[in-house]
Symmetry: C2
Subunit: 304 residues, 2 copies
């Protein structure tokens, strides 16, 4: 219950071997909140857009239980914009353009109704903005999940470490775990990173699945082998949205339930990549999600 998510709401130009999509809706918070909304409502989001962002889309999000009270609309300014081209193997991508626009001076303001958040998802953003959100809460949430990336390790490590010290779950990819810890072995990397504050570390490996570490346990969640990946954009954010949505719905932060949360997150991400932009995330239903989750269970089931 009571879930707040912070991140970008934006436009993307996306090019993959399967096609192009221009000025489509994107942004970490968009993916996170749409994914989470299948598990819990409302999802109270904190973000900023320009007046070029379609009111229709915000309205669509509200219809799905996303509370947009915390979305600032900057008149006369433009929304954050990212353009990227995926490599043929889909595992790498080149950023072709980044226009910060409204994000350049983003000061997140939490509405009063958000300040008692029990669950908080901090999407990938500058660590200073993430910290500003933490500072406005009336009390520490039951669980804070932080998503970040190598860029912030390069340019704002000190700030990032301060945020990491105040959260419960960190989600990064394998290369980022190695960079942050200075350890090549993910087991050693996890031990070091958990020493920085978080109770859980989730290492995302894309098509190779995800690892969950606590101080004394480890869990591996597979990725579902898919016939076609059309557009990986937003997969990590969708994963985070499914994860925090499941946790908020069940109100259970145990390791056992984190495992389930990762499977739900992985299932949502597996849907996300099958179409461009947020398209697939608008078309799901609980039965389809449950069926997909069972495919994950089936995929790794064996008896010895």
């Amino acid at each position: 219950m009571s879930l707040v998510a912070v991140g970008t709401v934006a436009f993307d130009d996306i090019e993959t071997p399967f096609g192009r999509a221009e000025k489509v809706v994107g942004g970490a918070c968009t993916y996170i909140s749409l994914a989470a909304s299948y598990f819990v409502q409302p999802v109270q989001i904190v973000s900023v857009v320009g007046d070029d962002f379609p009111e229709d889309m915000l309205s669509e999000m509200r219809d799905r239980g996303v509370d947009t009270t915390g979305v600032q609309i900057k008149v006369g300014e433009k929304s954050f914009f990212w353009a990227g081209r995926y490599h043929k193997d889909m595992n790498g991508r080149d950023t072709l353009d980044t226009q910060l626009n409204v994000l350049a001076n983003f000061d997140p303001i939490l509405p009063e109704s958000y300040k008692d958040a029990k669950y908080l998802m901090l999407g990938n953003l500058t660590p200073q903005v993430q910290m500003r959100v933490l500072d406005q809460l009336n009390q520490r949430p039951k669980l804070v999940v932080l998503d970040t990336m190598n860029f912030w390790m390069d340019v704002a490590l000190e700030d990032l470490l301060k945020v990491i010290a105040r959260i419960d779950v960190l989600t990064i990819n394998d290369e980022e775990a190695r960079q942050l810890s200075g350890e090549h072995s993910l087991v050693k990397a996890a031990a070091k990173i958990l020493g920085m504050g978080p109770k859980y570390l989730i290492i995302k490996k894309g098509e190779h699945g995800a690892l969950l570490f606590s101080e004394d346990e480890v869990f591996f969640a597979p990725a579902l082998p898919l016939e076609e990946v059309k557009d990986p954009t937003g997969a990590g954010d969708t994963f985070a949205g499914g994860l925090i949505g499941w946790i908020a719905k069940t109100d259970d932060t145990s390791f056992e339930n984190m495992k389930r949360a990762i499977i739900y997150g992985s299932a949502m991400a597996s849907f996300c990549v099958q179409k461009f932009s947020i398209e697939q995330l608008l078309e799901l239903d609980p039965i389809a999600i449950q069926k997909r989750v069972q495919q994950f269970a089936q995929l790794v089931r064996f008896d010895v």
Copy 2:
């Protein structure tokens, strides 16, 4: 029951970030047979060495239930030799030297006692040699597993395809599956490769685990996150040895049992990489193996 394994018995020079080992015992068939010997004995091997290969080692293998009747010892010649250096991340390696020596003219001769093999493991070798082995059998084995690599796809594709048409299980890595099929999606790659003859395809992804495909089922086996990987040499062969050893022991080639076989293979490989060369493979016991297999089960266990 009745398991024949074909492949190299050789020397390696190995350099990893953890150290160097010079002129240590290596070769696909060495790893395969030592791993398989924990599950079934005898393991009847077919290989060739020079008179520089230590009789002590062959004797040690015999003590472990490896039948070396099919190992040709070429007097006045030298054993196959490979030297390689692993990259810092252990995922890539450079070959520094390859001396074919006795392998240059290797003509595998199956002793009479081998010709009714129920299970056959064709280790990575030139497809012509693999074919020569198949041609000497009195009847088709119950299950033939083939390991190969991109090199043979580059230089002997036609021969390789003929061998693939005659086997039941193909084990290759993800890049090789893509090369062989011309498909990037592993799901599509698997469908194409299964169309070439095999009943099962195993795609090895190293530290990312392995996928098993049949015509209508898929299984994912995780890799165990390890604190330290000292030397990846022979991991794929050890995987194959554990796999075929388990199948031969249980005499069950169903999809359900292939899943178990892959877990046993993965467990054996996870031991192999923890020390240099075959060192760790000489020090195991059934209890340690069973314990390791349970770690794999624990790693992916969740309920939804």
